[in-house]
Subunit: 215 residues, 2 copies
């Protein structure tokens, strides 16, 4: 491969992130995340992507198709990451610490995603089933086994593993999803609220482990 070819390859690779299709997807993501399926306008997405509205239909045929592309990608990415975090090979209590810290971090870096997914599922609960069926995602099972075994080993107090999992996830997600309410009620500005959630990385795992650990 001579210099010229190398150059061309590099150029191609650079442009991969800027194909029309990817531009549409990233613009659509930004609009859908903020306005939701019903609130988003195809024209607005086209403007955001800096292209003609007809292009959206050329690449994705319909608004519903474009939306599903975003929604499914977000869901798969989000649940895959969750699955990855709970699959790390650590003893239960350390795993909980690891999970909480990294999950809150993930949430802070993708703060629109949880509310977006929750909203859209609330308006159309069938969607989530499609994602799980088509994409074959089954988070949780591994974690349930870890909890059962920690209970029988006398490491933690008996608890329904499903209740514990819900508790862990609730404590991580809620402050992100309810951010506008909580920060208003507790008089936080944007920056101090982010710090407040940051501090939950330690606080939440302390709170959970205090509750379940046998001394």
């Amino acid at each position: 491969m001579d210099d010229e070819n190398i150059e061309k390859e590099a150029e191609k690779k650079e442009n991969l992130d800027k194909t029309t299709e990817k531009q549409i997807l990233s613009a659509a993501k930004r609009i859908f995340h903020v306005k939701g399926l019903d609130g988003a306008r195809m024209q607005e997405i086209a403007d955001e992507a800096g292209i003609n509205k007809a292009m959206l239909h050329y690449y994705f045929r319909s608004k519903e198709n474009l939306f599903e592309a975003i929604f499914n990608e977000d869901c798969v990415g989000f649940f895959a990451k969750l699955q990855e975090l709970i699959s790390v090979d650590l003893p239960l209590l350390a795993k909980i610490e690891y999970f909480v810290e990294n999950y809150i971090d993930l949430l802070l870096k993708n703060s629109y995603i949880p509310a977006f997914i929750l909203n859209e599922i609330h308006h159309n609960p069938e969607r989530i089933k499609n994602v799980f069926i088509e994409k074959g995602i089954h988070p949780g099972n591994r974690f349930i086994e870890d909890i059962r075994s920690a209970i029988s080993l006398g490491i933690i107090n008996p608890i329904d593993p499903r209740q514990l999992i819900i508790n862990i996830i609730a404590l991580c997600i809620f402050p992100v999803v309810a951010r506008p309410i909580v920060s208003t009620v507790l008089n936080f500005d944007d920056d101090s609220y982010t710090k407040f959630i940051e501090s939950r990385k330690k606080e939440v795992s302390k709170f959970i482990i205090n509750s379940i650990k046998i001394n």
Copy 2:
């Protein structure tokens, strides 16, 4: 007041619950709760109320006005109830038990409200500020004092009272808001999921108190 008048008064009172305005409000509530502001159609609300679409505008002038009537009523009712629950005169740990049990009960009986409020605030965060400013709602302050005093009395472990409040509310609300996801992931049917949340009335307060109580 003779018999005839008494009869008329009774009739009036009965019809109070069935005035056109109330019919509109209850129909609009059902539609907005399920479809949200952007997804709801004025025609659909009119059909649901069994009246002409022009009546909606006769009574509420615009979709936004009608929506705000519902949204504000829901918010005020919801936060007022929350405030009532945390204002009961009990020692902290008993208060937490009392709160969790009654709050989860409230959530189960109004299962659309939390997701509805969260969704609409996510699409328009300004809304919540209007509610708090106009209606003068300030939940939480009383509870924060209770927590501080329980810490200094050595009843519970030191914890940022705001963190504890968020934890309590998160543990109650999340399973209701994320119901479609959780019940799909954990393979619940509708009935068993309701029972699962019912059982959290005891589980959650146990979980919290285990975590903070000094033995």
